[in-house]
């Protein structure tokens, strides 16, 4: 199964959420993580892979598309990460392979040849892995267009594709996410031009609400009017989301605000929770995203 992670705006938590979801999926499945954020490849830092913190020097995703490199570099996260609690001892069922981007790589244009190479890579990885997670960059990027064009090719018709659109829980983000999917040059429009059935494509899209405050939890710093305002505004946002076709039935999941992630983008593990550094609800959110991502029932008609 291919999963594409997109967002309209930067800073939505798309990469950090995707990495965490990949991490949880890899407890039970073989997972590949592809960094298609060509302009700013940072997933290596999230996995704590020191030598690929901001991408690798060569033989990364860029070279695959621009230099005709046959096999882009693969890093096994379990062995390359510098986080001790992720390494070695833990026995896991699945592989987690990271396909890094390159330092100093830049966005490049889209050609038929690149679309073809993209399709080739995705098809091959789809055979090798149970879940292939592709982190596209923000906005209407080349990566997004290329992914839409590649998956529209008839040779990829039998491959299951799922699209995730990440947005934060604010008015502007909701409007932007709506635009990215339904708006001009949005996923649906571009998808249609690329040859997708628009209706089918729409059914394969789900939204992920990132860093949504848990308003109903006790917060001693909050006054009653403030809480009232927040709850009432939250309701308004919910209505806006329904109105913009981002309603609950099209939502894959929600992640709460996690203080750690506001400072450092990283994987949140059980040991962070055990150390009382991270919130348990954060892991719960990621785990539920991972579960629902591979639950077919969730993807049946919205």
């Amino acid at each position: 199964m291919l999963v594409f992670a997109a967002s309209d705006k930067g800073g939505t938590g798309r990469s950090v959420t995707s990495c965490n979801v990949a991490f949880h999926l890899a407890q039970r499945h073989d997972v590949a993580y592809l960094d298609f954020d060509f302009g700013s490849p940072t997933a290596g830092a999230i996995f704590d892979i020191t030598r690929a913190e901001r991408g690798i020097e060569q033989e990364g995703m860029h070279s695959y598309f621009t230099d005709g490199l046959a096999d882009p570099r693969r890093l096994d996260v379990w062995t390359s990460t510098s986080r001790p609690d992720l390494r070695g001892a833990n026995i896991r069922a699945g592989r987690l392979t990271f396909f890094p981007g390159e330092i100093g790589g830049a966005e490049f244009g889209m050609t038929d040849e690149r679309v073809d190479r993209c399709a080739e890579l995705l098809t091959q990885l789809d055979h090798e892995y149970e879940v292939v997670l592709v982190d596209l960059s923000a906005g209407r990027s080349t990566a997004l267009h290329m992914a839409l064009a590649a998956t529209a090719l008839s040779k990829m018709r039998s491959v299951t594709c799922r699209w995730l659109v990440f947005h934060r829980w604010t008015r502007q983000h909701i409007v932007a996410a709506h635009g990215l999917v339904y708006g001009k040059h949005g996923i649906l429009e571009v998808g249609k031009i690329s040859g997708h059935d628009q209706k089918d494509l729409q059914e394969d899209i789900r939204f992920v609400r990132v860093a949504v405050p848990l308003l109903k939890e006790h917060n001693p710093a909050q006054s009653a009017p403030q809480a009232t305002w927040l709850l009432a505004y939250d309701d308004e946002l919910r209505k806006l989301a329904v109105d913009r076709r981002l309603g609950q039935s099209r939502v894959l999941g929600t992640t709460p605000v996690e203080p750690i992630l506001q400072y450092r983008e990283q994987l949140i593990t059980e040991s962070d929770v055990a150390a009382k550094i991270a919130n348990a609800t954060t892991i719960k959110g990621f785990r539920s995203l991972a579960d629902r991502l591979v639950d077919d029932e969730v993807w049946e008609g919205a």
Binding site: E203, Q248, S249, R250, E300, G301
Partner: protein
């Protein structure tokens, strides 16, 4: 305990789902053997609040509140919940349709004094079932009208929903026909046969000890309109023989609903001109002409049930969602006419003399049976009449007193004593003989055990109508006490915990009764109904007192004037704490003026707070100007 419909209904929902939904399937399981009434009650526990309370709606998954989705987690994620409900509705209709004919049997709810009820008796249609069916079908049809199924590849829900709607419509039509044919007019003449009935009736209405001749004449006069209508309106299909009887000067009469289709009831021969796909019947359903067995005598409990059901048909929701088809609209008109007549009849009888017959508790029915339950039923009709604004606040005040004595007598506001006979009102409940049922076996009995939840519902309903604070407070107090009573009757153990009814603790304090483990849907549904009524009552704006408004106006006048003075003496460039406080005071005064009409007490409080702030400044000012 404060009544909190949202929270309490969600608590009930959680228990309903836990006890009914297991391993992905809905189980029709309650204390009594499953039947068309009990199963409808079980389903209505979920569906009734969902269709009556906006915040608990289940028909738009995207807009479901979070606490709702969490409560119903077991049914699946939000978008699955409506689909589950559709499956349950389909299952219900499958169970209670035989050869295309809707089934209205009472099975486990029926018993007999001697011997076992026969199969034929257990299948007999009952007004209780017709009325509940009306509510269920309307709730379900409304739900389906709003619900938009997912637009899927290979759409199956659209067709399923259409089929379900057609079946629900057929059931709705059939239950309306059932109600129509269960309407009874009972003329009481001076013959020997009616002597006892007549005596009982006169004794009940004649509270001021007038001669029978005078009472009969007065009754005739007060009920003249109803009588004329009965005699003249052809659509009521009153027989010629009956018209002659009613025409006699000395004849009294009773109207309302019998327990089932009346013996000799005229067939309903409406033309089945609605297509089957739209909920019409292919051939005329049996219920239109099936022979009736019920004695042509109104029962108070079925009359109230029927009125409640017809209320749902006449509701604004039914109209707004345009739920009725042509055939049903015709039936609805016919039922509305009977509703009006019955409502007026009982409202007049209840208040016939001074003191009111209703105030003479317990009410005695014309067949000589006495019970507090009947008093509650008559009060229910009276409250309903109040809703039509044909009774006034003085009437309501008196009804409140009746409710209060019923609560005492029913051991809700008084404790149970040893060997207390009043307990029988709750357990096993008021016993009613279904007269006429003996033609098919032993005479059937029905036990109405819903005294407490009905009292709760009627108090809440009356509270919404009252425009006097005193009686509204009394009603709310009584409702809360009754809710406390109900809370102690919740089942505590087993999967059904949180549902009703386990009356051991409060009604049988001197006995050792085993804890109940199976839910009574009969009782649980009544509690849910009461909570839905509460939610309607709470939506009303608080009563506005003119006295507090006058006071608020005085307060605001003074505050306004003092503020003007202070502003006059304040440096216009001042940005110190003083100016902050002045701004704050000004804001309070303008807010108070905004809400003065709707919330005078709040306006008063704001005005007071502004005055206090102003005085702080004044005291400081005075202190300083004492001199340097």
């Amino acid at each position: 305990m404060r009544i909190q419909p949202r929270r309490q209904i969600l608590d009930i929902w959680r228990s309903v789902v836990r006890s009914s939904f297991r391993d992905g399937t809905w189980e029709w399981r309650g204390r009594e053997e499953s039947n068309s009434i009990s199963d409808a009650e079980q389903l209505l526990c979920l569906l009734y609040p969902a269709t009556e309370i906006e915040e608990l709606a289940l028909d738009r998954p995207d807009e479901m509140a979070e606490d709702v989705t969490k409560t119903l987690e077991k049914l699946g994620e939000p978008k699955m919940i409506p689909q589950r409900i559709i499956e349950i509705l389909e299952d219900y209709l499958r169970r209670y349709t035989t050869d295309g004919e809707p089934d209205f049997g009472g099975k486990g709810y029926l018993s007999a004094e001697s011997g076992e009820p026969t199969d034929e008796q257990l299948r007999l249609g009952l007004v209780a079932s017709y009325s509940l069916s009306v509510s269920l079908c309307l709730a379900a049809l409304g739900f389906l009208k709003v619900y938009k199924p997912p637009q899927k590849r290979g759409d199956k829900w659209g067709d399923r929903i259409k089929k379900l709607q057609a079946e629900l419509n057929r059931r709705l039509t059939a239950s309306m026909v059932g109600l129509l044919r269960s309407f009874a007019v009972n003329p009481i003449d001076t013959g020997v046969d009616d002597a006892e009935v007549r005596a009982a009736m006169l004794a009940m209405v004649n509270q001021s000890n007038e001669s029978h001749r005078v009472v009969v004449a007065k009754l005739r006069e007060r009920l003249a309109r109803q009588r004329t209508r009965l005699m003249e309106d052809a659509t009521l299909s009153v027989s010629d023989e009956m018209v002659d009887k009613l025409d006699e000067d000395t004849t009294l009469f009773e109207i309302g609903w019998a327990w089932g289709i009346v013996n000799g009831a005229t067939a309903v021969n409406f033309v089945a001109d609605v297509e089957p796909a739209k909920g019409g019947f292919e051939r005329e359903p049996e219920i239109c002409s099936t022979p009736g067995f019920a004695a042509a005598r109104p029962y108070l409990f079925t009359t109230v049930l029927a009125l409640d059901g017809i209320n749902d048909i006449r509701s604004t929701r039914t109209q707004e969602l345009d739920l009725l088809n042509e055939e049903q609209r015709r039936l609805s008109d016919a039922l509305a006419l009977r509703y009006e007549l019955t409502q007026r009849y009982w409202s007049i009888i209840a208040r016939f003399s001074d003191p009111w017959p209703l105030e003479d508790i317990p009410w005695r029915t014309s067949d000589g049976e006495e019970s507090d339950y009947y008093s509650l039923m008559v009060s229910a009709v009276l409250v309903q009449d109040l809703e039509g604004r044909r009774a006034d606040d003085d009437d309501l005040d008196r009804a409140v007193t009746v409710f209060e004595s019923l609560a005492q007598r029913g051991r809700i506001t008084r404790r149970v004593t040893k060997d207390d006979a009043s307990v029988a009102l709750h357990v096993p409940g008021q016993r009613m003989r279904l007269e006429g049922s003996a033609k098919l076996g032993p005479e059937l009995l029905w036990h109405a055990s819903d005294f407490a939840p009905l009292l709760l519902k009627r108090c809440l309903q009356a509270a919404a109508l009252s425009t006097r604070r005193g009686s509204r407070d009394r009603l709310m107090d009584l409702a809360e006490t009754t809710m406390d009573h109900m809370i102690t009757r919740r089942i505590e153990v087993s999967e059904a915990s949180g549902l009703w009814d386990d009356p051991g603790e409060i009604l049988f304090p001197y006995d050792t009764r085993p804890a109940e483990k199976l839910p009574s849907w009969y009782m649980t549904e009544r509690v849910v109904e009461a909570l839905v009524t509460a939610s309607r009552t709470f939506r009303k704006e608080p009563l506005r007192s003119t006295a507090i408004r006058a006071r608020a106006e005085e307060v605001l006048h003074e505050a306004d004037q003092l503020l003007n003075q202070l502003l006059l003496t304040s440096d216009s460039d001042d940005t110190s704490a003083r100016s902050v406080q002045l701004t704050e005071i000004e804001r309070k005064i303008s807010r108070a003026n905004e809400i003065l009409i709707d919330r005078p007490a709040t306006a008063n409080a704001l005005g007071q707070s502004a005055l206090r702030g102003l005085d702080e400044l004044a005291v400081a000012q005075d202190n300083a100007s004492r001199g340097v």
